[in-house]
Amino acid sequence: EAGVAQSPRYKIIEKRQSVAFWCNPISGHATLYWYQQILGQGPKLLIQFQNNGVVDDSQLPKDRFSAERLKGVDSTLKIQPAKLEDSAVYLCASSRRVGAYEQYFGPGTRLTVT
């Protein structure tokens, strides 16, 4: 089966600009996750969707970050306006359902904010 797809792979923006990332999960996977991985650290969950509903967004900085999952399939994560500390790799993952332990990760989008 095809893996989790993400685009773009790399993005460089200036602070205070906006940026959007796209994720297409594995077909049939109901649960989708966005993680932020700062260089040298483990991934940190930003938001979790079950179909097109939010399960957990407790660690999402809602003043600048937003995410949606259209029709329970693809998802976009947006940052507006970006700060220097947002420089990181943004990983998308999916699993068959909430409570399914195995998560499959995409290759990530490396964001550099200058």
């Binding site: 989790v4 649960t31 996750y33 040298g40 650290q41 483990g42 991934p43 940190k44 969950l45 979790q48 079950q50 399960v55 957990d56 990983l91 993952a93 699993s95 909430v98 409570g99 399914a100 332990y101 195995e102 998560q103 499959y104 990760f105 995409g106 290759p107 990530g108």
Partner: protein, 113 residues
Amino acid sequence: QQQVKQSPQSLIVQKGGIPIINCAYENTAFDYFPWYQQFPGKGPALLIAIRPDVSEKKEGRFTISFNKSAKQFSLHIMDSQPGDSATYFCAASIESSGSRLTFGEGTQLTVNP
């Protein structure tokens, strides 16, 4: 209480050696403990996982040892190869909380030929 602490930060071994990576947790509600392997430019990939009702699990050259009373678990890589050079992350999750993963800080493993 949601933290997972991982050590060492980096590790260098010779081919054939047995690197050991350790993790400790505080939250006794965690009920699933996976290890992920990440190569540069790639997303993490599930390597092996264990539940707290088991003290050891082996899959090929990879073994997880789990000590529930000490709230610690570790990854052992038998007969390590240069191709095992990667960053390894331990993680923990709770099924009732939607299985969100809490990751350790990562260990960068280098296996020299």
